[in-house]
Amino acid sequence: MTLFLNLVFRNRLAAMGAVVITAILLLALLTPILPMHDPDVTATADRFKRPFSDGHILGTDHLGRDLLSRLLHGTRLSLAVGIAAALIAAATGATIGIVAGYFGGRIDNVIMRVVDMLMAFPYILLALAIVAALGPGLMNALIAVAAVNVPFFARNIRGITVGLAGREFIEAATLAGMGHTKIILTELLPNVLPVIVIAMSTTVGWMILETAGLSFLGLGSQPPQADLGSMLGEARSAMISHPHTSVVPGIMIFLIVMSINLLGDGVRDALDPRLRSGALSRPRATTLVDRKGPLPAPTNDLLSIRDLETQFHVGARTYKAVGGVSLAVKPGECLGVIGESGSGKSVTALSVMGLVASPPGVITSGAVYFQGEDLIGAAYETLRKKRGDRVAYIFQDPLSTLHPLYRVGHQLAEAIQSHQKVPNHKARARAIQLLKDVRIPNADSRIDDYPHEMSGGMRQRVGIAMALANDPDVIIADEPTTALDVTVQAQILSLLNDLRRDRGLAIIFITHDFGVIAQLCDRVAVMYAGRIVEEGPTQAVLDAPAHPYTKHLIACVPELGQGRRVLATIPGLPPMVDDLPLGCAFAPRCYKAQDKCREREIQLLGTKPRAVRCLFPEEPV
């Protein structure tokens, strides 16, 4: 609870709202004992006195009544009526919702039908109809506003109750022979109550406004009694000559509603866990770069990643997702990068083209050279022109990585037209050819499909076609076959292999499956906790793994080429990258670990082309 309040008040606006509404509530409570004019005593001689004139701080109204006194009494009345309406609506709505949700079946059906129908009205029509039937008056306005809000509560609370009614503790209570009433009161209500309170806190401002509105229309409080709405309504006729009588109650309504809104927003934000973790931040167009120190020297590879460090900054914490990785590919070469999830392999891949979501991602060190040009420090437009044109990506799950509302043809054509000035019909023809290249049958008609109309394998072919759209030099494939079943996986792999041979593509292939690496890759780099722990030619590493972790990974694939997709478990969990132990990150899970392993940083050593980051390797390299 204190945590919750802290969260609410960390939000400065919410705190401000709380202060204002508390002040107004206090004033309203104290109104009867404050030394003030009688709000209803008229003095026609003193009509429309300006604010700050003798004895009337806010002046007087059209009947010479003291405006400050009327304002405070009006506020008191408006608050009381609004809060009463909220309580009535919440109590009635919650009762209906609990009954519907708890009993379910026919009762639920009928009740929810009625609720839906009530919600089909623009709310004010319903309120007006009720006031019309009952007659104008503050009490009737209160009833109308409460009634109009009942469906909202009923629907929300029903939803919560349905969720709770299936839980074990309710079933247990039923089995224990408790009566319905008792279950509802002792088991359900305590769980639903917080939701009711929150729903109330977000609607009470609204209900104050609504009752004030009805009074403004002359359908609520009747003279001489006045709430804020009717004060405003009465002042309207003199608005042009004496604006202060309108402005005063108007601003008061505004203050009340705004402070309650601010507070309600604060409550809502505090309850939404996504806001707390900062996950609702929008990723920028390119990853943030904040590099210090000199850049590593370029190499003569096609694409080379040099000493790359990518971190996630979440609040005060820093997660070192990639801690100094160097990789390189030549034309026509396929490099495999393997590791468990969280090893930093995907973040490495996404860093190349600045696609790591930021916030929270920041590239803090290193460089990525494409044909000798550093991409990390490049301006957005330079980077954009290379994205998908020279370096293209294939992502894991094509259902979430293809836009669900665009036809695949459109998405392919767009990939082409983002880099080449091509008329639409040519782009379309090229898109069809691309679909044929990735062996999609009936490409001419498939091109007008939406992604959800295709199978997983087909979608992934579209993903590959999209990556090929501009004849790139490098393709970075981030677990492109993980979501697919084994036969489709094999087809996709052989397709990639053909493309590599035919077009001289360089491929960086990210996976957690050694079986896949064995089929496709010339070289492999094994990643653990954000660093490379072993690298070398695929066959050499497979035959004689040097790092204990690599050995485990290979042991997890029962038969190479069978494409097992789930890693058999290695005892222990990969370390949290915000809390790396000194020395070897794998030590807690390593069967050979010794004290020496935990003493200092271990270098990636070996004779080219092999290297390993281990003090006691399985094989000397």
């Binding site: 623009p122 019309a132 509105g213 042009i240 609702l280 293209a392 293809l402 836009h403």
Partner: protein, 315 residues
């Protein structure tokens, strides 16, 4: 698509019936003799007798409902005693004025709200975002009737830029520029709250979408950022924005009641309030059913728009 529209229309029938039942039940809350209540000061013995006959007021409730429903289906909403003309004629005339006002406001709040939300999201935590968030906060907290009054005070009385109230100038008015002149303030005042709400929800819908994998795909393809935001992201966000537009249309229609009073706009909302104060219950009853029915139909249009936008909805 055609069959989808028909299906949605068919599903509206029970809702429409439900609306008439609810209104009928509310109206039967009226204390005392219904005929006298409906007629009020027009209650001569002949009038009472005629009304009893027309509406079957001496019959049991269920039968009375069906008589009323039957009458409405044949276009007979009864006669307004305070205006001495058929209820339906009055409603249709007034509803036109409301449509002009609420329709304009709705367009305003949809366009402004979505644009504000998109910009806010695209510049999250930048000063544009903060400025928009601040204006939105004020917008959704000002009672529309107070906002309207202040606008009159500033723009009509002090600056004399725009007419104080009404739909057309009394002398020499009646053309389109005159209408627009009269429309600007009430339409803006009415749109304020809904614009704020739409801006807010569009912002969070956009933020939600911008985190999706397919946005990363678009960027990885090299799609220019402006297209990523205004194309890919907005298109996907519209799926959750459109239902909000449907709900907000209801709020605009509701708010029109206040704005019509403040600006003396000859619409159906002002008619209802006048009718309540004059206890012209047949006019209230007819007006409520008519407007609610229009709103139900509007929401079907929203659903159809949604299905056009989102191919995943089965039509």
């Amino acid at each position: 698509m055609g069959s989808y529209i028909l299906k949605r229309l068919a599903s509206a029938i029970p809702v429409l019936l439900g609306i008439t039942i609810i209104v009928f039940l509310i109206m039967s809350l009226i204390p005392g003799d219904p005929a006298t209540a409906i007629l009020g000061s027009y209650a001569t013995p002949e009038n009472v007798e005629k009304l009893n006959r027309d509406l079957g007021l001496d019959k049991p409730m269920v039968q009375r409902y069906f008589i009323w429903l039957g009458n409405m289906l044949t276009g007979d909403f009864g006669r307004s005693f305070s205006l001495n003309r058929p209820v339906l004629d009055e409603i249709v005339e007034r509803f036109n004025a409301t449509l002009v006002l609420a329709g304009t406001s709705f367009l305003l709040c949809a366009v402004l709200g979505i644009l504000a939300g998109v910009f806010s999201a695209a510049r999250q935590y930048g000063w544009t975002d903060k400025a928009i968030t601040f204006v939105v906060l004020i917008g959704i907290s000002v009672p529309s009737f107070f906002l309207g009054m202040m606008m009159i005070l500033v723009f009509a009385v002090n600056l004399r830029w725009l007419p104080v109230s009404g739909m057309y100038a009394i002398y020499g008015g009646g053309d389109l520029p005159d209408l627009i002149n009269h429309l600007i303030m009430p339409a803006l005042a009415l749109a304020a709250v809904a614009t704020g709400v739409i801006a807010r929800l569009s912002r969070s819908a956009m933020l939600e979408v911008l985190r999706q994998d397919y946005i990363r795909t678009a960027r990885a393809k090299g799609v220019p950022e402006r297209r990523v935001i205004m194309g890919h992201a907005l298109r996907a966000a519209m799926v959750s924005i459109i239902p909000i537009l449907g709900i907000q249309a209801g709020f605009v229609l509701s708010g029109a009641v206040y704005i019509e009073i403040v600006f003396q706009w000859p619409g159906v909302g002002r008619m209802l309030v006048d009718a309540i104060l004059k206890r012209d219950l047949l006019l209230v009853q007819g007006g409520v059913v008519f407007v609610a029915a229009c709103y139900v139909l509007f929401n079907i249009a929203v659903d159809v728009a949604q299905s056009l936008l989102d191919p995943r909805i089965k039509t």
